[in-house]
Amino acid sequence: MFHRMASPEHFFAGARLWVFWLYLLGVTGLAIGSAWGLFFVPPEKYQGDSVRIMYLHVPAAHLAQMIYIAIAVAGAIHIIWRLKMADVFMAAAAPIGAITTALALISGIMWGRPTWGVWWIWDARTTSVLILFFLFFGLVALRQAIGRRERAAFAVSVLAIAGAINIPIIKYSVEWFTTLHQPASIELGRNIAIDTVFLLPLFVNLASLYVFVAGVILANMRVDLVNRYQTTSWVSEWFRNN
């Protein structure tokens, strides 16, 4: 099945169904998880209701890093096998990764405000997510700056791989550097009572966000395919019948 999906035309047709189901599953999952987290979970001892932000912040932050790793893998695939679909994935996933990271950042800030009374705290994870946002922004900006698609694909692949290699290094140096200055920094989400009543909605939301964003990336890839292959027969045929 994978080989068939590697050809743009088959992918374009096949992805349509996937997008529908991923959207459906993702949205309902998110609705259920969020509703559960907002209304049916008792407030936490220390943080009260602000802990409910965790159900959006943790999935978004986790997903953002996964998207970047996926883009780096696609970059490696593109450089080694020159697979066009890998570049289509990178072009589609980068902006979405940036927006997911932005969502993670904003929810992190809004969570930090009630718990620590300050808008931004240079905690190890918030700093890493902020740098991740700049990495995503770099990917999008580099692709925008290079006109020729071939060069853009190669350049973005190299940058994605360089960035991915740096993620652990950044995490290590930031972790060490921030704990150097505030010994008692509270890790977001680590000190909450880890009993299941809190965690179930989190897993539901995490899985649903993955599913939903996967659908969004596939849909975005279809748009990119139409842009790239405007002159081909199967695209004009698609234009004709809808």
């Binding site: 959207y23 949205v27 998110l30 969020s34 907002l38 407030p43 943080q47 009260g48 209701d49 602000s50 409910r52 932000i53 959006l56 912040h57 978004a60 902006p95 979405i96 927006i99 997911t100 932005a102 969502l103 904003i106 929810s107 809004m110 969570w111 405000r113 009630p114 939903f212 964003v213 969004v216 849909a219 975005n220 279809r222 748009v223 139409v226 842009n227 234009f239 809808n242």
Partner: protein, 44 residues
Amino acid sequence: MGDHGIYVWSVYAIGLIFLGAIGTYPHMALRRLKRRRREDKEQR
């Protein structure tokens, strides 16, 4: 919801906007491409 309600609701509102945006963008883009293609055809 206590006094933290404002933060929780604003986070979910922003979440809705962001996820809604990335969710609907591809379909809007496809529709825009179709419309532009139809306009090109009419001009030709």
